[in-house]
C-alpha cells in the first residue's frame, strides 16, 4: 500500500484566511492553533523583530496600528512595501502573505502531522496577472515547492458540488467586505465550467455598515449628537460608530433586535455622548434592501450577458460573511434562484474547494507522484497516466513499460482490480511499443484504489511496479479558464488579443507584428516596447497594462528599419503566469524573460490627472445628453457621481500615503472609464447603429456572392446576434457581435480579384506620409507593375507592407502604452 491521499488547499483572503484538507473522500477545514477555522490575515512585527500572525496580531490592530498590517492582499504585485517602524523593517505584501501561509501550514502540521509542500491557493476571479504571480511568490517564500492557483468562485462551486447533485446552471454569489463578485457556472455530466464573471468593486459588507452608520447619525442628531462625515475632526467618532455598526449587523443575523452600545462615551467636539440605540431587524433590512437589490442587479446583468434568465439557474451558492444575513438569503431566493440544498459554511467554502481542486490537479501535499515508476528490485516497471480525480465512472489508465522484470519474462497483459474486489478489468494487451490502456470502473464519490497485476506471455502472473494507484470520483472542472483577455497593445491603440477570456490554461500563441519606427542601436533600455495588456476592450488604453516586453537598444548590432517583423509569443501556465518572447527574424535574435509584471504605480499626480480627465469627459457627456434631450442618459450619468466621489476620496488617501486605498481608486477609475465609454456609445447610438446596418449589408452582399455555404450559416447566426444587440441598444455587445459579421464579410470580399487592387490604391494614395517614403515609393512602383500584369491577388503582401509603413497617430500611440508595434 502506498501513502494515503493528502490534498491541501488554502484560501488566502483579504480579511481572513483558511486551510482545508481532503483525503479523497472527506474534506475537513483545518483548525487553527486557537481552535477556530479562520486565521485573520493580519501580521505584526514587534520592536524586537518578532512576527505574529492571525488572532494574536489582530488584537494589536488598534493598539499598535503602525506595526500591524492587514488588507495587504490588495497590494500584491504592486511592488510597494509596508513599514514596521518599531523594528525598522519594511516588508512587501508577498512577504506578509507568506507569513499567513506559514501559519496555515503549521496548523495543517499540528492537526494532520505533516507540513504540506504542495498545495492549491485561491485567488479572486478578477485577479490581474501580476497579482497571481505575487501569490505564487508568497507561496515560495512560505516554503511551498509547488502550487496551483484556482479562482475563488470555482473553488466555492467545487466544494458545493462535492456534497450535492451538481447538474445545471449555478451562480456563486460572493459578497466580501468591500467587493461583490458573481460567477455563472454550468455543470454537465459532472464537469463544471465557468461561463462568466461580473461584479461590483464598490459593494461589500462595509456598505451595509455604512447604511447603519448613516441611520445612526440621523438618530443621534435628533438626540443632540451631531457627527458629520465631512468634518475631519469627527473621523475617530465615525470609526467607532462603524465598528459598532458592524457588530450590530452580525448580531442581527442571529436575533431580531440588538442595541448599539458603546463601552465609552462618544466624544464629539469635546462633548461626551452616551450611545445606546436599539435597532431591530426590520429597520436594518429596510436600510440594506437597496444594496441587496444592487447586488442582484449585477447577477441579472451577468445572466443577461449570457442569454440566460433567473429561471434558468438551478441554485445559488453563497460565499462571504455578509451572506449570513437572513434578508439577503431571502432576497436572493426571491429574485434569483433557490440556495444550494446543503448548508455550506460561507466562510470556509473556498478553502474546501481549493483542497478538492488539489486532488483534481494531482497535487499531493507531499509530492507523491503516482505516475512515476517506483524503484523496485523485481517486477516490470511501468509509467502510468490517469486522472487523479475523475467525473467519469469509466476512465482509462494508460501505461507504458519502461523496464523489464529481473527474470526477463516479457509482460504480455495487464489487469487492474479494484480494492473492494467487485471489479476486475479485462486483461489489456501490451502493444509492441510497450503501451497499454485499461478501462476502469469507479465507485461514485469515493477514493477508488486499484491494484495492477501483469501476465507473462504464457499466462503466468508477474509483478508490475507501481502495483497500485488511486482515482477519486467526483465533480471536476475543465482546464481553468483565463479570467480576463490578454493581448498586445498596438500603436494605433487597438489590441491584438492573444488569449480571449475563458481560454483554457495553459495556453500559448504566436503572432507576427511589425515595428512602427526604425530602432537603432544605442543605450536606450526601451528601444522597442511591446506592452502586454489585460482586459475586454478593443481600445488598448482601456485595458490594464500588466507588463512589457522590451527590446533594449544596447543588444542591437544594426538598425531595425520601420516595418521589421517581430514574432511575439505569449505563454500562460495553469496558474496564470505569463511569459513572453519576441523573435526578430531579421537579426535572428530572441528577446525573452523581460516581461515586467507589476501592477502600475499609483501616485497622487497620476490619479489627479486621471480624475480631472474623467470629470471633463463626464461633463461633456452631460452637456451632450442635455442638448440631445436624452433624460435616460442623464440619469445614467448621475449614477456615476458617487463612484467619482469615491475616487476623489481615493486621491485624498493617496496624498496621505494610503497605497491600498489609492490602488483601489485606480482600479475603480479604470472601471469608471469603461462605464463612461459605454455611456458615450449610448450617446453615439444612432451613428453606431447606422454603421452596423451598413456593415451587415456589406457582409450579407459579399458572403452571398463569394462565401461558402458554411460561411453563410455562420453569418446568419452572427447577424441574428447583432440584431438582438441592436434591439437592446447595447453598444458594447453590438461591437463584439459585429466583429464576426465584419470578419466574415471581409473574408468573402478579399476573394474578389479586384479587392486587393482597391486596397492597394487606398494605401498608395497615402504613400507620401509613410515612415520610410523611399521604401513606400518603391512598393507603389512595384504594385503598379503587378496591376499591369493583371495578377491582382499578388498585391496582397505588397499592400500589407505598405500599410505597415503608414504613420501612427502620436496621440494614439501615447495612449496605447507607447507601443512600438502594429
Amino acid at each position: 500500500m502506498s501513502d494515503p491521499l493528502r490534498y491541501v488547499g488554502f484560501d488566502l483572503g483579504t480579511t481572513n484566511s483558511a486551510a482545508a484538507f481532503f483525503d479523497g473522500e472527506t474534506v475537513q477545514v483545518v483548525r487553527t492553533s486557537q481552535g477556530g477555522q479562520l486565521t485573520p490575515s493580519v501580521v505584526r512585527i514587534t520592536k524586537k523583530g518578532a512576527t505574529s500572525v492571525g488572532h494574536k496580531a489582530r488584537r494589536f490592530l488598534d493598539k499598535d496600528a503602525d506595526n500591524t498590517h492587514t488588507g495587504f492582499k490588495r497590494l500584491m504585485g504592486t511592488g510597494k512595501t509596508l513599514a514596521f517602524p518599531a523594528a525598522g523593517l519594511e516588508r512587501r505584501p508577498e512577504e506578509l502573505s507568506a507569513e499567513v501561509l506559514k501559519s496555515l501550514i503549521a496548523d495543517v502540521d499540528g492537526q494532520f502531522g505533516f507540513a504540506p509542500t504542495r498545495a492549491v491557493i485561491t485567488v479572486p476571479a478578477l485577479f490581474e496577472l501580476p497579482q497571481s504571480r505575487a501569490t505564487t511568490e508568497a507561496a515560495t517564500l512560505a516554503g511551498l515547492e509547488a502550487i496551483e492557483l484556482v479562482q475563488e468562485p470555482v473553488a466555492s462551486a467545487l466544494a458545493a458540488g462535492w456534497t450535492e447533485d451538481s447538474a445545471g446552471a449555478w451562480l456563486v454569489y460572493d459578497l466580501g467586505g468591500g467587493t461583490f463578485d458573481v460567477t455563472l457556472l454550468a455543470s454537465q455530466d459532472g464537469v463544471l465550467r465557468v461561463e462568466g464573471h461580473d461584479g461590483d468593486n464598490f459593494l461589500g459588507g462595509r456598505d451595509f455598515d455604512t447604511a447603519i452608520v448613516d441611520w445612526l447619525l440621523t438618530t443621534l442628531r435628533d438626540d443632540g449628537c451631531d457627527v458629520r462625515r465631512d468634518n475631519p475632526a469627527h473621523g475617530a467618532a465615525l470609526r467607532t460608530l462603524a465598528a459598532a455598526a458592524e457588530e450590530a449587523k452580525i448580531e442581527l443575523s442571529r436575533s431580531e433586535q440588538t442595541t448599539i452600545t458603546l463601552v465609552e462615551p462618544l466624544v464629539v467636539d469635546g462633548e461626551e455622548h452616551e450611545v445606546d440605540v436599539p435597532l431591530d431587524r426590520a429597520t436594518f433590512e429596510r436600510l440594506v434592501l437597496p444594496l441587496l437589490d444592487r447586488s442582484i442587479d449585477v447577477c441579472l446583468r451577468l445572466l443577461d450577458a449570457h442569454d440566460r434568465r433567473a429561471a434558468d439557474i438551478d441554485r445559488v451558492v453563497l460565499v462571504g460573511g455578509p451572506t449570513m444575513i437572513p434578508a439577503l438569503r431571502a432576497r436572493v431566493q426571491e429574485r434569483l434562484a433557490p440556495l444550494a440544498e446543503h448548508p455550506h459554511d460561507p466562510m470556509t467554502l473556498v478553502a474546501q474547494g481549493a483542497a478538492l481542486f488539489a486532488a483534481q490537479a494531482g497535487l499531493d501535499a507531499q509530492g507523491a507522484t503516482a505516475s512515476l515508476p517506483v524503484r523496485h528490485e523485481r517486477g516490470h516497471k511501468v509509467l502510468l497516466k490517469y486522472p487523479s480525480m475523475s467525473t467519469d465512472l469509466s476512465p482509462f489508465v494508460i501505461g507504458r513499460v519502461v523496464g523489464q522484470a529481473d527474470d526477463g519474462a516479457r509482460l504480455s497483459k495487464v489487469i487492474a482490480s479494484r480494492h473492494d474486489d467487485k471489479f476486475v478489468s479485462e486483461p489489456a494487451t501490451v502493444e509492441e511499443d510497450g503501451s497499454f490502456a485499461i478501462s476502469l470502473e469507479l465507485l461514485p464519490r469515493r477514493a477508488n484504489r486499484f491494484s495492477l497485476m501483469g501476465q507473462a506471455e504464457g499466462g503466468d502472473p508477474v509483478t508490475v511496479e507501481p502495483g497500485a494507484f488511486t482515482i477519486v470520483h467526483g465533480l471536476t472542472i475543465g482546464d481553468p479558464p483565463l479570467s480576463r483577455s490578454v493581448g498586445v497593445a498596438l500603436a494605433n491603440d487597438r489590441v491584438r488579443v492573444y488569449f480571449e477570456r475563458g481560454t483554457p490554461l495553459p495556453a500559448k500563441r504566436t503572432f507576427v507584428h511589425h515595428t512602427v519606427d526604425a530602432v537603432a542601436p544605442g543605450e536606450d533600455d526601451h528601444a522597442l516596447v511591446i506592452p502586454l495588456v489585460q482586459g475586454e476592450f478593443d481600445d488598448a488604453h482601456l485595458c490594464r497594462l500588466v507588463g512589457s516586453l522590451d527590446v533594449p537598444a544596447r543588444v542591437l548590432k544594426e538598425v531595425l528599419p520601420a516595418g521589421t517583423q517581430v514574432e511575439v509569443t505569449l505563454e500562460l501556465d495553469r496558474g496564470g503566469h505569463l511569459t513572453a518572447q519576441a523573435y526578430v527574424p531579421r537579426i535572428k535574435e530572441v528577446f525573452e524573460g523581460v516581461a515586467q509584471l507589476l501592477v502600475p504605480a499609483c501616485t497622487p499626480d497620476v490619479l489627479e490627472a486621471e480624475l480631472r480627465t474623467m470629470h471633463e469627459r463626464i461633463e461633456a457627456l452631460r452637456a451632450d445628453a442635455f442638448r440631445m434631450r436624452m433624460p435616460e442618459l442623464i440619469a445614467e450619468i448621475d449614477k456615476l457621481m458617487p463612484d467619482l466621489d469615491d475616487a476623489e476620496r481615493g486621491l485624498d488617501a493617496a496624498r496621505g500615503g494610503d497605497e491600498e486605498t489609492a490602488q483601489r481608486a485606480r482600479r475603480n477609475l479604470i472601471e469608471l472609464e469603461a462605464r463612461v465609454v459605454q455611456l458615450e456609445l449610448t450617446r453615439d447610438w444612432p451613428e453606431i447603429d447606422s454603421e452596423a446596418v451598413d456593415d451587415i449589408a456589406f457582409a450579407a452582399s459579399w458572403v452571398s456572392s463569394l462565401g461558402t455555404e458554411t460561411e453563410q450559416k455562420l453569418l446568419d447566426q452572427a447577424i441574428a446576434q447583432a440584431n438582438r444587440a441592436r434591439e437592446a441598444m447595447d453598444a458594447g455587445q453590438l461591437a463584439r457581435r459585429m466583429r464576426r459579421v465584419r470578419n466574415l464579410g471581409e473574408a468573402a470580399y478579399y476573394r474578389h480579384p479586384e479587392s486587393w487592387r482597391h486596397q492597394f490604391e487606398f494605401a498608395a494614395a497615402r504613400a507620401d506620409e509613410a515612415t520610410d517614403p523611399a521604401k513606400a515609393a518603391a512598393l507603389v512602383q512595384k504594385g503598379r507593375a503587378i496591376i499591369d500584369s493583371g495578377d491582382h491577388m499578388a498585391l496582397r503582401p505588397l499592400t500589407e507592407q505598405l500599410w505597415g509603413l503608414l504613420p501612427i497617430d502620436a496621440k494614439k500611440r501615447q495612449r496605447s502604452h507607447l507601443s512600438g508595434v502594429r
Binding site: Q188, D392, F396, T710, L714, R740
Partner: protein
Amino acid sequence: MDDRFGDNPFFVLELEVGCTSMDVMRQADKLIGMLELGVEKAATYPTPAGDKPRTVDKVRAARARLLVPEKRFFDEIWAKARAVDGAAAQAAGPDLFGALWWR
C-alpha cells in the same frame, strides 16, 4: 497560423459529432495519457486533408471547446461539412478563421 478546419476538435479527438460530454472527457484524458507516455499511435489524427500531428495542447484545447455548447455548435457545422465540401473548406478555412481572431 491556426488551422481551424484541420484542428477541428472532433478530428483531434477522433469523436463523432453526436458524442456526449463524458465521451469528450474520457477520450481527452486517454489521449493526453498516451501522448505524455509517447505512444506513437496517438501522435497523429486523420482529417479529410490528411494526417495531422496531435499534441497535448491540441487535445486540451479541443476538450475545452467541445464542453462549451456555443463553440461546439460551430465545430459541429465544420465537422459535418467535411464530407460535402471538405476541400473547399480546407482552402477557405485558415484565411477565414485567421480573420475571425482579429478584433
